[in-house]
């Protein structure tokens, strides 16, 4: 069985490496590269990020930035209230755009 971890962000593709074990929390098969060790046994980067005590490596950092990006993408958080206000203020006639 091959590793079930999806690599990449723009073009997600499954990792083709042979699985060496599995995530003790979600059960998916993982290769050595995508296994993170911690107090509850080996875990995938997603489970390692959502549980305390797991070591941080390049994969977990990437997964963390990716998940924060996904939660912000397309939602109201992506454009803050301040962005909106800034534009609305510029539409007012006679508004000095250099006024802060």
């Amino acid at each position: 069985m091959n590793c079930q971890w999806q690599t990449g962000l723009l073009v997600p593709q499954p990792c083709d490496s042979p699985a060496m074990g599995g995530c003790s929390l979600c059960g998916r098969s993982l290769c050595m590269m995508h296994t993170v060790s911690g107090p509850n046994g080996p875990a995938c980067p997603t489970c390692a990020n959502s549980n305390q005590g797991y070591e941080q490596n390049e994969e977990t950092e990437l997964e963390s930035s990716r998940s924060s990006y996904y939660t912000q993408y397309g939602g109201t958080q992506y454009f803050t209230k301040r962005d909106r206000q800034s534009v609305e203020r510029e539409e007012v006639e006679g508004y000095d755009e250099f006024e802060t």
Binding site: T7, G8, L9, L10, V11, Q13, L62, S65, R66, Y69, Q72, Y73, G74, Y78, F79, D83, R84, S86, V87, E97, F98, T100
Partner: protein, 290 residues
């Protein structure tokens, strides 16, 4: 870290304040890592020389004070020596401070380039290289347009200078054959507001505005029917599809605005902003490509 401690590629980039050519991801990431470390060392040097300047000013003042106080005594020479020493240190510190400031690189721009590629590195086509044309010199005099005199506003006379800085062009290929490009153009506006006081003095205030335009483009490997439009904010973003060499190319623009009162804005769109735009363009690909 000094210039001679850098790799030959990083040294060239730091000296010319530009990154050009075709790069493999690993070499490009290492280059950015070196440049960020070099820039941190330069920033520390600038801060140290600024402190040195302040100390030299204090020493010069103390020397002057001592020289005036004991001007009729035999020790007046000691005060004068402290004063001269302070002035010499001050001149040296100013020259070195200016030199270090000139050698510093825009850290937010480097961070954006590094963050962006770190997030998409697994998506890159390992056989294709990243084409880079990055100018890190910032808004220099050569990029400044003519001074514009604006209509006066009340008692204030207004003038502005606009710098156009197309500093970033990146092109890379994804592992499914689609090509992405990213371009950033900064437009810095310096607005000078001058007024005459009751005593006849002229007082000038300068305000700074930086408008960054980030343009992301996706080029399909063959003619495709785009799956649909991603979510676009109509106030800050614009999405268009253009025909180029028989292919439908999707282009997403986004504007970022930064304002400062005392100095030029140092902020820059983050790597996540750039990845966000690329991600939304990639979501337009037909279902079989995803």
């Amino acid at each position: 870290m000094k210039l001679r401690d850098l790799s030959p590629e990083a040294r060239t980039a730091a000296e010319t304040q530009a990154i050009r050519g075709e790069w493999e991801y690993a070499a490009y990431d290492q280059l950015l890592k070196d440049l960020i470390a070099y820039d941190a060392a330069m920033d520390a040097r600038v801060a140290f020389r600024k402190k040195w300047m302040i100390v030299a000013i204090i020493v010069a003042f103390v020397g002057l004070f001592v020289a005036i106080l004991v001007i009729n005594n035999e020790d007046a020479g000691a005060g004068a020596a402290i004063f001269v020493g302070g002035i010499v240190h001050l001149i040296t510190a100013i020259v070195l401070w200016k030199k270090a400031r000139k050698m510093a690189l825009p850290e937010n721009a480097l961070a954006m380039l590094q963050q962006m590629f770190r997030q998409v590195r697994q998506d890159l086509d390992t056989k294709a290289k990243i084409r880079v044309n990055v100018d890190l010199s910032g808004p220099t005099k050569a990029k400044c347009g003519p001074k514009q005199v604006l209509p006066p506003k009340g008692a204030h006379s207004l003038s502005q200078r606009v710098y156009a800085d197309p500093w970033c062009q990146l092109r890379f290929q994804l592992r499914d054959g689609y090509k992405l490009s990213l371009r950033q153009v900064d437009q810095l506006t310096e607005l000078e507001r001058t007024r005459r006081t009751a005593r006849g003095k002229y007082k000038t205030k300068t305000k700074y505005k930086k408008l960054c335009r980030l343009t992301a483009t996706i080029v399909p490997p063959a003619p495709v029917q785009w799956a649909g439009q991603p979510r676009v904010d109509p106030t800050w973003e614009r999405l268009r599809v253009a025909k180029k060499k028989g292919l439908d190319v999707a282009v997403l623009d986004r504007w970022f605005l930064y304002k400062e009162k005392l100095e030029r804005p140092k902020q820059n769109p983050s790597g996540a902003d750039a990845v966000g735009m690329l991600y939304r363009l990639c979501s337009m690909r037909p279902a079989e490509a995803k």
